[in-house]
Amino acid sequence: MDKRVGSVADAVAGIGNGARVMIGGFGGAGAPIELIHALIDKRPRDLTVINNNAGTGRVGLAAMIDAGMVRKMICSFPRSSDPRAFTEKYLAGEIELELVPQGTLAERIRAGGAGIPAFYTPTAYGTELAEGKPIAEFDGRRYVQERWLKADFALVKAHLGDPQGNLTYNKAARNFSPLMCMAAATTIVQVSRLAAAGDIDPESVVTPGIFVDRVVEVPHPQQEEDLVRAGAACA
């Protein structure tokens, strides 16, 4: 079994109109810029995208939104240093927003990956973000029932990846990516370096290969912050 694919274009094959796509990264840390732009080249439409944010500048996720590919964003914080792509579409009523508290977003994704259809959290109890959700009391405190989140595809960026899909990440670029790998039917990973089988210490594997379907090497990945600073229109 070898999960390596030869190009980012091959890596994103099969993502069609209406797909539900999780994209790793917290701001630019862990954003799989090259996979996103390979997807933009294919222009699927009506996507539901799950990410903590909603893009910045004109690159990466923001470029997907600019290209009119995203019907709905599920995120916690659709603001950034330059949020105009999302903001314009949102204020024009051209993109739907499901706003989810950050920890609830993470836990819903983990639940999707772990086969937990619903759980209770104190987060958002009594706020407008809990409206319409079931409430239950445990040990005298009230909690909101939240549902799992799953996706058809996850696009994530990792540091090392071996042929079986075992992954490590770089620093805080880890963020949502290990959870998204669990929660997507097909997980697509750009790694900064391919490792040989056995090169990753089994103790240090962060995402075991069982959660990964395709691995493509992008040896010098672009960093969203650099692209935004350079005013890049598109990678």
Binding site: M1, A114, G115, P163, M182, A197, P202, V205, P208, I210
Partner: protein, 229 residues
């Protein structure tokens, strides 16, 4: 692969394990229950390599070590010493059962006291006396894309293990997808037993008489043959 051409009167445990192993694809993620299911690992067809998961936190473990070489921190769910293959990973129990419950395993293989035609499984206790112990069985029967049972066709007392409804306490409801027995390969489909393979030397009526619920035929019934092992 050498196969026996002489019809068996029944498959041995090793042959049942061999037969189940033929249905595991290269690269499949597989959890083998303690006991008879563990034998499946020995019979992977040439050129195929499954990746074995053990619920105590290892992916891609291999053969037992040589005697005296055991590392008691490197064990499987049956608490037997194992080794690692290249590309192994360790993880904690919550991540391990996320793999199970979250539908990431391709195949889980378990033993059975009884399987019902609805796919209910009873494999954890036979009554209400003694010390009950469940381990990971109730988790494993949910989540894996295919849940295989490998078992004798009859109990030692000669009772059917494939039944209309389980009389023993259940491990899971409507969870088994396929059963490999000493006498047949049977799918669970739409709440019915569908016979896929039977021993070439045994008449359908005889097999049906050994089975506690109707065996449906839906398409070809192939010969169940296994090599002498």
């Amino acid at each position: 692969m050498t196969q026996n051409t002489r019809p068996n009167s029944r498959l041995s445990n090793a042959q049942i394990a061999w037969r189940a192993a033929q249905d595991i694809a290269d690269g499949a993620y597989v959890n083998l229950g303690i006991g008879l299911p563990e034998m499946v690992a020995s019979y992977q067809p040439p050129g195929r390599e499954a990746i074995f998961h053990t619920e105590n936190g290892i992916l891609n473990f291999g053969e037992p070590p040589a005697p005296g070489e055991e590392d008691w921190d490197l064990i499987n769910a049956g608490k037997k010493a194992v080794t690692l293959k290249l590309g192994a990973a360790f993880f904690h129990h919550a991540d391990s059962f996320a793999m199970v419950r979250g539908g990431h395993l391709d195949v889980a293989i378990l033993g059975a006291y009884q399987v019902s035609q609805k796919g209910d499984l009873a494999n954890w206790r036979v009554g209400s006396t003694g010390v009950p112990a469940v381990g990971g069985a109730m988790d494993l029967v949910h989540g894996a894309r295919q849940v295989f049972v490998i078992t004798e066709h009859l109990t030692k007392a000669g009772e059917p293990k494939l039944v209309e409804a389980c009389s023993f306490p259940l491990t899971g409801v409507a969870c088994v997808t396929r059963v490999y027995t000493s006498h047949a390969v049977v799918d669970i489909a739409d709440g019915r037993f569908v016979l896929r393979e039977k021993l070439p030397g045994q008449a359908f009526a005889e097999l049906q008489a050994m089975t506690g619920a109707t065996l449906h035929v839906d398409g070809e019934v192939a010969d169940l043959v296994a090599p002498d092992i």
